[in-house]
Amino acid sequence: MQREVASAGGAPASDADPVPRRRFSGRVLLPAAALAVMLAAIFVLQPRAMSYNGMRLLLGFSLPLMFAAMAQMCVIAASDIDLGLGTYIGLVNSLSALLLADRPLLGVLSLVGCVLAYAGMGAFIEARRLPSIVVTLGASFVWLGLALLVLPTPGGASPAWLSALVRLKPPLVPLSIVVAVLLALVGHWLFMRSSYGVVLRGIGSTPQAVRRAGWSLLTARTVLYGLAGVFGLIAGLVLTGLNTTGDANFGAPYTLLSISAVIVGGGEFFGGIVAPVGAVIGAFIMLLTGSLLSFMDVSTDWQLSVQGAILILVLGTRAFRRRRA
């Protein structure tokens, strides 16, 4: 009401101002607050976590998840959804463990091929106007199959440089946090600040308007999926470094985890509404759910319930806030 009145006729411009501003920050503030609460709970339950080493360990596996979340966010920006991201990460994991150390050239070529395939999938979805959910579901089988073909049983080895890279111990702040900050900045710049990022988010809400302005939807969706392919690739590589080996089945859980991370972080399934900073925070939330479970000493029977409850709590609070706003 207030908004309508303020915006009409001769009302001063400043009246309409606070509404969008507040809504924007709310999108990232809530997951940030949720993360803070979780961390507080963890520190209370387990004071040892409150050290460089504790944080380093707790957040060790956040690296692949935050890149996976960023990849998923690229797809969700187009109001699509990627059910194949997890197995794609598994494929990258398998290929890099098998080839990168021994035959680097072939390894790099195959990984470039992966990214191209991802971009091609985006182009295909746009060109034929296909529902992404089913194409990526089909693709998930293809990635898994390819991974099993190249690496029928877990094995291979991470190149030494890669393992060393992901186990870097920068002074003062653990690597995960450094990378998270950088990734959030890159993601924010890419989607919220860069000039083409505007177009990329635009196709998620009103593709025909973007097309009428002379943009190629084919290019835009190809770029988005290509970006998803790149972030997914990094997730897979980081995984190889952390695990030191490859496993075709390893990536699969990242599909649901990454979707949850994006949504918990303030993104929405439809309308090109994404929050790159939130996605990184969401990745941490999803990750720490597991640690919290471990520290809370819940009966094994009910561990899944607690996970569900945490999801409901975070998203329920957001919906509640939005309704009151």
């Binding site: 504790g54 060790g60 596996f61 029928p152 877990p154 695990n243 080996t245 699969a252 990750l287 996970q307």
Partner: protein
């Protein structure tokens, strides 16, 4: 602080202040549920007897990344030993190494991990495949059609069993493996997959399974109206019950059950405890595969509640014997027989 001067027997070092945790990759099937039960029983008794101070379980939802995260949390919490049923043979190696670096005792079992610093409690699954194949060759007189029900694609247990089967069948040219499907160790999926190939198959004389899939396989044959072949069963209660029913209808229904026992969790627990107590333990400890013959069938069924998985409960002493046998390269001690209330 070792039982005998030569280092054999139960190590008696003081572990009453130690804490041992289990990181389990998946809890969603009856085998794993039985496993958690035996773990609970073993640790509860050990805590009551002041052998250890605390124990706990964290389950990952069939997700290796989640499990890796759990293990890192356990490291932060400062557990003295972490027992792991791993979601991937390789993917947890990084965190396991991390745990070892913090001087935490790591024992992996069932779902193994290849990290060199971890103690491994292992079944020889290739031997299980060989055992089944040998039985089939003998039973069929070297000639006949066999259907293979495999586990989950890309998982090493499945590969090992399959390898044992293939290598052994290669020595018997009269045996034809007419079909091979993935049953995912799940009755419904095994049923679906077997049913899908059945119409196209010639008469099947024998089915070799990996456990957890025997009942589903039987259902598929029944639904297709085919005569029941000889099925090598796993050790779920429904499979053993089915075998017993089949025996009642046809006393000549000759087969056996081979599968890993969920009780191996208790072996892994005692291995961890023994390492903490100062016993010298080889890096890999093989466990005898419990094999149930027709003669023992009814006595097993008697002590198994519905929905259980056949398993002995292994004691500290038995585990010490097992360690010693492995260390000395001697024959493994036979699996104890289950008692009422064990499952």
């Amino acid at each position: 602080s070792v039982g005998h001067a030569d280092g054999t027997g139960v190590a008696t070092g003081d572990t009453s202040g130690k804490k041992i945790a289990l990181s389990n990759s998946y809890a969603g099937n009856s085998w794993r549920q039985q496993m958690l039960k035996t773990w609970d029983r073993a640790t509860a008794d050990a805590i009551k007897d002041k052998v250890i101070k605390a124990a706990k379980v964290v389950n990952a939802n069939a997700s290796a990344p989640e499990q890796a995260n759990h293990i890192e949390s356990l490291i932060v919490e400062g557990w003295d030993a972490i027992v792991i049923n791993a979601a991937s043979p390789t993917a947890l190696n990084g965190v396991i190494q991390e745990a070892c670096d913090q001087h935490i005792v790591v024992v992996v079992f069932d779902g193994l991990a290849t990290a060199p610093c971890a103690y491994k409690v292992a079944y020889d699954y290739t031997a299980m495949g060989k055992m089944e194949a040998d039985f089939a060759i003998k039973k069929l007189g070297g000639k006949g059609n066999v259907l293979e029900v495999r586990g989950i694609a890309g998982v090493s247990v499945d590969d090992d069993i399959h390898k044992g089967l293939v290598d052994t069948f290669a020595t018997a040219p009269g045996i034809k493996v007419v079909g091979s499907v993935y049953g995912n160790w799940t009755q419904t999926i095994a049923q679906k997959e077997v049913a899908s190939v059945l119409p196209s198959l010639p008469p099947v004389n024998m089915v070799v399974t990996q456990g957890g899939d025997g009942w589903g396989t039987f259902q598929a044959f029944k639904a297709a109206g085919r005569p029941t072949p000889t099925i090598v069963f796993g050790n779920r209660q429904d499979e053993l019950k089915l075998w017993s029913d089949l025996l009642k209808a046809d006393p000549g229904y000759d087969t056996f059950s081979a599968s890993s026992a969920p009780g191996c969790a208790s072996v892994a627990f005692w291995v961890a405890q023994q390492v903490l107590a100062g016993k010298k333990v080889p890096n890999t400890i093989y466990l005898p595969l419990p094999r149930i013959e027709q003669a023992d069938l009814e006595s097993w069924l008697k002590v198994m509640p519905d929905g259980a998985v056949a398993t002995p409960v292994y004691s500290q002493a038995w585990t010490a014997d097992l360690i010693d046998a492995n260390a000395a390269g001697k024959p493994l001690p036979p699996s104890p027989v289950a008692k009422l209330g064990d499952m």
